[in-house]
Symmetry: C2
Subunit: 164 residues, 2 copies
Amino acid sequence: MDIRDATSADWAGIWSVMEPIIRAGETYTLDPDSSEESLRAKWLHLSGRGRTFVAIDDDGAVAGTAELHPNYGGAAAQVANAGFMVHPGHGGKGIARALANHVLEQARTDGYRAMVFNAVVASNVRAVRLWQSLGFEILATIPDAFDHPVDGLVGLHVMHRKLD
Amino acid sequence: MDIRDATSADWAGIWSVMEPIIRAGETYTLDPDSSEESLRAKWLHLSGRGRTFVAIDDDGAVAGTAELHPNYGGAAAQVANAGFMVHPGHGGKGIARALANHVLEQARTDGYRAMVFNAVVASNVRAVRLWQSLGFEILATIPDAFDHPVDGLVGLHVMHRKLD
Protein backbone atom coordinates (compact mmCIF):
# COMPACT_ATOMS: atom_id res chain seq x y z
CA MET A 1 0.00 0.00 0.00
CA ASP A 2 1.64 3.18 -1.24
CA ILE A 3 0.45 6.40 0.42
CA ARG A 4 1.49 9.68 -1.13
CA ASP A 5 0.38 13.27 -1.73
CA ALA A 6 -2.43 13.51 -4.27
CA THR A 7 -2.05 15.34 -7.56
CA SER A 8 -4.86 16.74 -9.67
CA ALA A 9 -4.39 13.70 -11.95
CA ASP A 10 -5.64 11.53 -9.07
CA TRP A 11 -9.07 13.14 -8.99
CA ALA A 12 -10.91 10.52 -11.09
CA GLY A 13 -9.64 7.80 -8.76
CA ILE A 14 -10.43 9.83 -5.64
CA TRP A 15 -13.94 10.51 -6.91
CA SER A 16 -14.56 6.79 -7.51
CA VAL A 17 -13.84 6.32 -3.79
CA MET A 18 -15.79 9.35 -2.59
CA GLU A 19 -18.90 9.25 -4.74
CA PRO A 20 -20.62 6.18 -3.21
CA ILE A 21 -19.77 7.41 0.31
CA ILE A 22 -21.12 10.92 -0.31
CA ARG A 23 -24.25 9.68 -2.10
CA ALA A 24 -25.05 7.23 0.74
CA GLY A 25 -25.04 10.20 3.16
CA GLU A 26 -24.46 8.01 6.21
CA THR A 27 -21.04 9.07 7.49
CA TYR A 28 -20.33 12.65 6.43
CA THR A 29 -22.16 15.89 7.25
CA LEU A 30 -22.13 16.81 3.58
CA ASP A 31 -25.08 17.15 1.26
CA PRO A 32 -25.47 13.75 -0.52
CA ASP A 33 -26.41 15.68 -3.67
CA SER A 34 -23.23 17.78 -3.64
CA SER A 35 -21.76 18.29 -7.09
CA GLU A 36 -18.52 16.58 -8.03
CA GLU A 37 -17.04 20.02 -8.75
CA SER A 38 -17.79 21.43 -5.27
CA LEU A 39 -16.39 18.32 -3.58
CA ARG A 40 -13.29 18.41 -5.78
CA ALA A 41 -12.61 22.01 -4.72
CA LYS A 42 -13.16 21.09 -1.08
CA TRP A 43 -11.24 17.81 -0.91
CA LEU A 44 -8.27 19.00 -2.99
CA HIS A 45 -8.16 22.35 -1.09
CA LEU A 46 -8.12 24.31 -4.32
CA SER A 47 -8.51 27.44 -2.19
CA GLY A 48 -7.23 27.73 1.34
CA ARG A 49 -4.62 25.79 3.26
CA GLY A 50 -4.73 22.00 3.25
CA ARG A 51 -3.31 18.90 1.62
CA THR A 52 -4.65 15.68 0.20
CA PHE A 53 -3.37 12.11 0.18
CA VAL A 54 -4.12 8.91 -1.71
CA ALA A 55 -3.57 5.24 -0.88
CA ILE A 56 -2.69 3.32 -4.03
CA ASP A 57 -3.37 -0.42 -4.30
CA ASP A 58 -1.22 -3.03 -6.06
CA ASP A 59 -3.01 -2.37 -9.37
CA GLY A 60 -2.19 1.34 -9.20
CA ALA A 61 -5.76 2.37 -8.40
CA VAL A 62 -6.86 4.79 -5.67
CA ALA A 63 -8.21 2.64 -2.82
CA GLY A 64 -8.53 5.42 -0.25
CA THR A 65 -7.97 9.11 0.27
CA ALA A 66 -7.46 11.57 3.10
CA GLU A 67 -7.15 15.31 3.55
CA LEU A 68 -5.61 17.49 6.25
CA HIS A 69 -6.34 21.16 6.99
CA PRO A 70 -6.52 23.60 9.91
CA ASN A 71 -9.74 23.09 11.86
CA TYR A 72 -9.85 26.76 12.84
CA GLY A 73 -8.23 29.99 11.68
CA GLY A 74 -6.36 32.73 13.48
CA ALA A 75 -4.90 31.90 16.87
CA ALA A 76 -6.22 28.32 16.69
CA ALA A 77 -4.78 27.40 13.30
CA GLN A 78 -2.39 24.87 14.82
CA VAL A 79 -5.24 22.46 15.50
CA ALA A 80 -5.82 20.20 12.51
CA ASN A 81 -8.85 18.50 11.09
CA ALA A 82 -8.77 15.60 8.67
CA GLY A 83 -11.11 13.56 6.52
CA PHE A 84 -10.78 9.95 5.39
CA MET A 85 -12.54 7.86 2.78
CA VAL A 86 -11.89 4.26 1.80
CA HIS A 87 -13.62 2.60 -1.13
CA PRO A 88 -16.42 0.36 0.20
CA GLY A 89 -14.92 -2.54 -1.83
CA HIS A 90 -11.60 -2.15 0.00
CA GLY A 91 -12.83 -2.30 3.61
CA GLY A 92 -11.12 -4.45 6.23
CA LYS A 93 -7.65 -4.19 4.66
CA GLY A 94 -6.28 -1.63 7.11
CA ILE A 95 -6.30 1.16 4.52
CA ALA A 96 -8.04 3.64 6.83
CA ARG A 97 -5.57 2.91 9.62
CA ALA A 98 -2.58 3.26 7.28
CA LEU A 99 -3.94 6.55 5.95
CA ALA A 100 -4.60 7.78 9.49
CA ASN A 101 -1.07 6.99 10.64
CA HIS A 102 0.32 8.77 7.60
CA VAL A 103 -1.86 11.85 8.17
CA LEU A 104 -1.06 12.00 11.90
CA GLU A 105 2.65 11.88 11.11
CA GLN A 106 2.29 14.52 8.41
CA ALA A 107 0.26 16.76 10.74
CA ARG A 108 3.05 16.61 13.33
CA THR A 109 5.62 17.44 10.66
CA ASP A 110 3.50 20.37 9.50
CA GLY A 111 3.48 21.80 13.03
CA TYR A 112 -0.04 21.01 14.15
CA ARG A 113 -0.30 20.50 17.91
CA ALA A 114 -3.57 18.57 17.99
CA MET A 115 -6.25 17.08 15.76
CA VAL A 116 -10.00 17.45 16.16
CA PHE A 117 -12.86 15.71 14.37
CA ASN A 118 -15.96 17.91 14.69
CA ALA A 119 -18.64 15.50 13.63
CA VAL A 120 -18.03 11.75 13.78
CA VAL A 121 -21.41 10.07 13.26
CA ALA A 122 -21.97 8.08 16.45
CA SER A 123 -23.45 5.09 14.61
CA ASN A 124 -20.28 4.83 12.49
CA VAL A 125 -18.91 2.47 15.11
CA ARG A 126 -15.97 1.21 13.07
CA ALA A 127 -14.66 4.73 12.56
CA VAL A 128 -15.16 5.65 16.23
CA ARG A 129 -13.24 2.52 17.31
CA LEU A 130 -10.46 3.20 14.82
CA TRP A 131 -9.97 6.75 16.13
CA GLN A 132 -10.06 5.57 19.71
CA SER A 133 -7.42 2.93 18.95
CA LEU A 134 -5.28 5.73 17.51
CA GLY A 135 -5.48 7.79 20.69
CA PHE A 136 -8.51 9.97 19.99
CA GLU A 137 -10.92 10.65 22.81
CA ILE A 138 -14.62 11.51 22.55
CA LEU A 139 -14.75 14.94 24.21
CA ALA A 140 -18.47 15.45 23.64
CA THR A 141 -21.43 14.24 21.63
CA ILE A 142 -23.79 16.72 19.98
CA PRO A 143 -27.06 14.95 20.77
CA ASP A 144 -29.44 13.90 17.97
CA ALA A 145 -27.61 16.11 15.49
CA PHE A 146 -27.47 13.70 12.55
CA ASP A 147 -30.63 12.33 10.94
CA HIS A 148 -29.15 9.08 9.66
CA PRO A 149 -31.05 7.62 6.69
CA VAL A 150 -31.23 4.19 8.38
CA ASP A 151 -30.59 4.70 12.10
CA GLY A 152 -32.59 7.91 12.57
CA LEU A 153 -31.37 10.65 14.89
CA VAL A 154 -27.89 9.88 16.22
CA GLY A 155 -25.25 12.02 17.90
CA LEU A 156 -22.13 13.60 16.41
CA HIS A 157 -18.94 13.00 18.38
CA VAL A 158 -16.28 15.65 18.84
CA MET A 159 -13.03 13.66 18.99
CA HIS A 160 -9.58 14.97 19.89
CA ARG A 161 -6.00 13.97 20.34
CA LYS A 162 -2.80 15.88 21.01
CA LEU A 163 0.02 15.44 18.54
CA ASP A 164 3.06 16.02 20.73
CA MET B 1 -32.81 48.94 19.58
CA ASP B 2 -34.09 47.86 16.18
CA ILE B 3 -32.93 44.43 15.02
CA ARG B 4 -33.57 43.46 11.43
CA ASP B 5 -32.20 41.49 8.50
CA ALA B 6 -29.08 43.05 7.02
CA THR B 7 -28.93 44.31 3.45
CA SER B 8 -25.80 44.79 1.37
CA ALA B 9 -26.14 48.52 2.10
CA ASP B 10 -25.39 47.76 5.77
CA TRP B 11 -21.91 46.42 5.04
CA ALA B 12 -19.97 49.62 5.86
CA GLY B 13 -21.69 49.77 9.26
CA ILE B 14 -21.19 46.06 9.89
CA TRP B 15 -17.51 46.33 8.98
CA SER B 16 -17.03 49.22 11.44
CA VAL B 17 -18.25 46.80 14.14
CA MET B 18 -16.29 43.79 12.91
CA GLU B 19 -12.95 45.28 11.98
CA PRO B 20 -11.62 46.07 15.48
CA ILE B 21 -12.84 42.68 16.76
CA ILE B 22 -11.21 40.74 13.91
CA ARG B 23 -7.97 42.72 14.06
CA ALA B 24 -7.67 42.17 17.84
CA GLY B 25 -7.85 38.40 17.21
CA GLU B 26 -8.92 37.61 20.76
CA THR B 27 -12.41 36.16 20.37
CA TYR B 28 -12.77 34.61 16.92
CA THR B 29 -10.88 31.75 15.27
CA LEU B 30 -10.39 33.88 12.18
CA ASP B 31 -7.14 35.21 10.79
CA PRO B 32 -6.73 38.77 12.21
CA ASP B 33 -5.28 39.78 8.83
CA SER B 34 -8.32 38.54 6.88
CA SER B 35 -9.30 40.86 4.05
CA GLU B 36 -12.50 42.88 4.31
CA GLU B 37 -13.67 41.23 1.09
CA SER B 38 -13.29 37.66 2.40
CA LEU B 39 -15.07 38.53 5.65
CA ARG B 40 -17.84 40.30 3.76
CA ALA B 41 -18.45 37.15 1.68
CA LYS B 42 -18.43 35.02 4.82
CA TRP B 43 -20.54 37.20 7.13
CA LEU B 44 -23.15 38.11 4.49
CA HIS B 45 -23.30 34.48 3.23
CA LEU B 46 -22.82 35.58 -0.36
CA SER B 47 -22.53 31.91 -1.25
CA GLY B 48 -24.23 29.15 0.69
CA ARG B 49 -27.17 29.16 3.06
CA GLY B 50 -27.27 31.67 5.88
CA ARG B 51 -28.66 35.04 6.95
CA THR B 52 -27.32 38.15 8.60
CA PHE B 53 -28.79 40.61 11.08
CA VAL B 54 -27.99 44.10 12.34
CA ALA B 55 -28.84 45.93 15.55
CA ILE B 56 -29.43 49.62 14.80
CA ASP B 57 -28.95 52.24 17.51
CA ASP B 58 -30.99 55.42 18.03
CA ASP B 59 -28.76 57.34 15.61
CA GLY B 60 -29.39 54.81 12.84
CA ALA B 61 -25.89 53.31 13.05
CA VAL B 62 -25.01 49.61 13.18
CA ALA B 63 -24.16 48.84 16.82
CA GLY B 64 -24.00 45.06 16.45
CA THR B 65 -24.42 42.26 13.98
CA ALA B 66 -25.15 38.54 13.93
CA GLU B 67 -25.29 35.74 11.39
CA LEU B 68 -27.04 32.38 11.34
CA HIS B 69 -26.21 29.36 9.19
CA PRO B 70 -26.26 25.54 9.28
CA ASN B 71 -23.34 24.24 11.35
CA TYR B 72 -23.16 21.08 9.25
CA GLY B 73 -24.44 19.90 5.89
CA GLY B 74 -26.35 16.84 4.77
CA ALA B 75 -28.28 14.94 7.43
CA ALA B 76 -27.15 17.37 10.16
CA ALA B 77 -28.20 20.60 8.43
CA GLN B 78 -30.90 21.27 11.01
CA VAL B 79 -28.30 22.20 13.61
CA ALA B 80 -27.48 25.89 13.43
CA ASN B 81 -24.39 27.92 14.15
CA ALA B 82 -24.34 31.65 14.73
CA GLY B 83 -21.85 34.47 15.15
CA PHE B 84 -22.24 37.72 17.06
CA MET B 85 -20.28 40.96 17.12
CA VAL B 86 -21.00 44.11 19.10
CA HIS B 87 -19.01 47.29 18.63
CA PRO B 88 -16.54 47.64 21.53
CA GLY B 89 -17.92 51.15 22.17
CA HIS B 90 -21.43 49.72 22.67
CA GLY B 91 -20.67 47.07 25.29
CA GLY B 92 -22.84 46.61 28.39
CA LYS B 93 -26.05 47.82 26.73
CA GLY B 94 -27.59 44.39 26.25
CA ILE B 95 -27.07 44.46 22.48
CA ALA B 96 -25.50 41.00 22.35
CA ARG B 97 -28.35 39.55 24.39
CA ALA B 98 -31.00 41.22 22.23
CA LEU B 99 -29.28 39.95 19.07
CA ALA B 100 -29.01 36.47 20.56
CA ASN B 101 -32.69 36.33 21.45
CA HIS B 102 -33.59 37.49 17.96
CA VAL B 103 -31.32 34.91 16.32
CA LEU B 104 -32.58 32.07 18.54
CA GLU B 105 -36.17 32.95 17.64
CA GLN B 106 -35.31 33.19 13.95
CA ALA B 107 -33.47 29.86 14.07
CA ARG B 108 -36.57 28.18 15.52
CA THR B 109 -38.73 29.78 12.82
CA ASP B 110 -36.30 28.57 10.15
CA GLY B 111 -36.66 24.98 11.38
CA TYR B 112 -33.36 24.47 13.17
CA ARG B 113 -33.61 21.98 16.03
CA ALA B 114 -30.50 23.03 17.94
CA MET B 115 -27.66 25.52 17.93
CA VAL B 116 -23.96 24.77 18.39
CA PHE B 117 -21.00 27.08 18.89
CA ASN B 118 -17.85 25.21 17.85
CA ALA B 119 -15.19 27.46 19.28
CA VAL B 120 -16.03 29.87 22.11
CA VAL B 121 -12.72 31.17 23.45
CA ALA B 122 -12.68 30.08 27.10
CA SER B 123 -11.15 33.35 28.31
CA ASN B 124 -14.04 35.28 26.71
CA VAL B 125 -15.86 34.98 30.02
CA ARG B 126 -18.59 37.50 29.25
CA ALA B 127 -19.62 35.61 26.13
CA VAL B 128 -19.54 32.24 27.91
CA ARG B 129 -21.75 33.63 30.70
CA LEU B 130 -24.15 35.18 28.22
CA TRP B 131 -24.59 31.89 26.35
CA GLN B 132 -25.04 29.98 29.60
CA SER B 133 -27.70 32.47 30.74
CA LEU B 134 -29.48 31.81 27.42
CA GLY B 135 -29.57 28.05 28.00
CA PHE B 136 -26.36 26.95 26.29
CA GLU B 137 -24.28 24.26 27.93
CA ILE B 138 -20.53 23.68 27.59
CA LEU B 139 -20.43 20.15 26.12
CA ALA B 140 -16.64 20.03 25.85
CA THR B 141 -13.52 22.16 25.82
CA ILE B 142 -10.83 21.61 23.18
CA PRO B 143 -7.78 22.00 25.43
CA ASP B 144 -5.15 24.66 24.68
CA ALA B 145 -6.52 25.13 21.19
CA PHE B 146 -6.41 28.95 21.03
CA ASP B 147 -3.16 30.87 21.41
CA HIS B 148 -4.66 34.06 22.82
CA PRO B 149 -2.48 37.15 22.21
CA VAL B 150 -2.71 38.15 25.89
CA ASP B 151 -3.80 35.06 27.85
CA GLY B 152 -1.67 32.48 26.02
CA LEU B 153 -3.03 28.99 25.35
CA VAL B 154 -6.68 28.71 26.33
CA GLY B 155 -9.40 26.20 25.51
CA LEU B 156 -12.21 26.44 22.98
CA HIS B 157 -15.65 25.56 24.31
CA VAL B 158 -18.18 23.60 22.28
CA MET B 159 -21.54 24.99 23.46
CA HIS B 160 -24.99 23.65 22.62
CA ARG B 161 -28.66 24.17 23.22
CA LYS B 162 -31.79 22.60 21.83
CA LEU B 163 -34.30 24.89 20.17
CA ASP B 164 -37.57 23.06 20.78
